[in-house]
Structure formats: C-alpha cells, structure tokens
C-alpha cells in the first residue's frame, strides 16, 4: 500500500522521487491518474481487456519517458498525450485489421435501440455514452472524450491533441452535429 506521505506530495515531487528509483512514488502517480487514463482509453476503445492493456501501456511508456518530462506542462497533460496517442494508434491498427476482412468502409457503424425510460444506474448511462462514441469517427470521438468526459477547455484540448485551436473548434461543432444524429437514433 502507498504511504500516506506520498499522497501529500505534488506531481513534480513524485516525478523526481520516481526518477531516483522510488517505486512507491511512481505507484502514487499511477493511483492519481489512472481514472483519467481510463476515461480516455475506455471511452474511445470501449470497455474491454484491450483497453486495460492500453491503459497499462500508457503508464509503462510514462515510466520510461519520465526523464524526458521537463515539467513545462502539467503531468496530467503529459500523461493524457501519451494516452491519446496510444489509443489513436490502437484505433488505426484495428481499422487496418478489420479492413482486411470487411469490404464495408465503416465497420464500426451499428444501429442501437434504447427505449426512453429512467436510467437504472451508472452502467446504463455509461453504456449510452459508449454506444454513441463508438459510432463517431475517431477524430471527433477524441474531441468529445476530451471535452465531455475530461472537462478540458478548447485550448487544453488543442494542446493535448497538438492541433490548431480553429481545427478543434470546427471539429467540436461537427462532433456536436454528429452526436445529435447518433443520439436521435439511439
């Protein structure tokens, strides 16, 4: 278990300690940011074993690139960038893989039926969001995940995705149109 003292340290101190070989410090970084990584990876890839693997890869990559983290941005932003890159790579890999077996251009398009009643619980709400996100194009899906689930501003989203602000704004507007269409069919 992670000592209480580590919980009080800020990210910069934990990074420094991790670089000096303190395993518990890195453990605290994982504990602190794993929910954020789960939101990104699972909302974009769906809830599966593969998402868990990508999540683990995010922290393994972080560990080996920690010495390159100069602290110019927040650690959470740095981790988010790794998570987004690995997730988008996985989506591309899947697309390539499925395109070998399917003649259909958009293999992820499905029709869903959800009756309008009171939500039974958290699982149902998450399921609706997942279904909607899985139908969206990846370039819009990532914008929606950053904004809707992570609560990042347009500027922060642009920084994480390494895109111009104008591109994020136009994608946000198109993503909203796409989301409206999808949710109407759900």
């Amino acid at each position: 278990m992670i000592k209480e003292s580590y919980r009080q340290k800020d990210d910069a101190e934990l990074v420094k300690a991790s670089l000096n070989g303190d395993t518990q410090a890195f453990g605290e970084i994982v504990t602190r940011h794993q929910k954020m990584v789960a939101r990104t990876v699972k909302s974009m890839l769906g809830d599966s074993v593969f998402s868990e693997d990508i999540g683990q890869e995010v922290f393994i990559k972080l560990f080996y690139s920690l010495s390159g983290f100069r602290g110019e941005s927040k650690l959470s932003t740095y981790i988010q960038k790794i998570a987004v890159n690995l997730t988008l790579n996985e989506i591309k890999r899947r697309k390539r893989f499925f395109s070998m077996f399917s003649q259909k251009g958009n293999s992820e398009m499905h029709e869903f039926e959800v009756a309008d009643h009171d939500l039974q619980g958290a699982r149902e709400a998450t399921e609706i969001v997942n279904k909607a996100l899985m139908v969206m194009e990846p370039k819009f899906r990532v914008i929606v995940a950053m904004r809707m689930l992570q609560g990042y501003s347009t500027k922060e989203t642009a920084e994480i995705l390494n895109l111009p602000l104008g591109t994020v704004l136009s994608r946000l507007s198109r993503a909203q149109e796409q989301l409206k269409d999808i949710l109407q069919k759900l």
């Binding site: 395993t23 890195f26 453990g27 994982v30 504990t31 794993q34 929910k35 990584v37 789960a38 939101r39 699972k42 909302s43 809830d47 868990e52 999540g55 683990q56 922290f59 393994i60 560990f63 080996y64 959800v114 009756a115 309008d116 009643h117 009171d118 939500l119 619980g121 958290a122 699982r123 149902e124 709400a125 998450t126 609706i128 969001v129 909607a132 929606v144 904004r147 809707m148 689930l149 992570q150 609560g151 990042y152 501003s153 347009t154 704004l169 946000l172 507007s173 993503a175 909203q176 989301l179 409206k180 949710l183 759900l186």
Partner: protein, 117 residues
C-alpha cells in the same frame, strides 16, 4: 435522470460557451464513469518493476534496432549501387577481377607476376 435528459446534457456539453468542467461533472454525476479493474495498479507496477520490465526493454531495443536499420539500409543500398556503377565504368565489367582491382588485359600467371615478362 432519464435518457432524454442525459442525451440533452451530452449534446449541450459540446456547446462552445459551455463550461467543460461543470458539464463533465454533471455527466459524471449522472453516472457516466470509467474505471480500470481493481488489480490494474498492481499489474502496472509488476510490469514495470519485475520481469515485465525486461520484456519492455527488449521491445524498446527491437524498435530501436528497426529504426537504425531503416536509417542505414537506404544509404547503404545507395552506396553499394554507386560502387557497382563506378566499378563498371572504370573496369568495363563486374567480374571478380574488377572487384579486386585487377584488369582483365593481363594474363596473370604466377611467372608473369614474378618476372614481369
């Protein structure tokens, strides 16, 4: 919250003037949450600090090797082609003698080489 309200909230969350933090908080309060499995933390730590790290380092090594190979392969092939062309232009053929720098005009018997006659 019913489904219509949730859908409305999701759509409004992408409004340009919406406060992203406030909206994401509301969406989370509506029950939309994502978590890894319970043993996620332990798995990550195991992979990094135990035997897994060797595997990761191996993968990194293979990746680096591939990267170096691609960087070297093209200039290498280009250099070999240039060498072949220059040998062909200078010697007129690509025989073994040409490669060894010996002309085909002389009959290299051991006596000729020793006496020069």
């Amino acid at each position: 919250m019913n489904i219509s309200k949730l859908k409305d909230l999701l759509i409004r969350s992408l409004d340009e003037d919406a406060d992203p933090l406030e909206v994401s908080g509301k969406i989370e309060a509506a029950g939309v949450s994502y978590n890894f499995r319970e043993n996620f933390h332990d798995k990550v730590m195991d992979k990094i600090y135990s035997t897994g790290s060797a595997v990761v380092r191996d993968i990194e090594f293979v990746k680096s090797l591939n990267y170096v190979f691609y960087r070297i392969a093209l200039p290498g092939v280009a250099a070999i082609l240039l060498l072949l062309i220059s040998i062909f232009l200078m010697e007129g053929s690509l025989s073994l003698n040409s490669f060894l720098g010996m002309g085909n005009s002389n009959d290299e018997s051991i006596i000729y080489l020793l006496t020069g006659n």
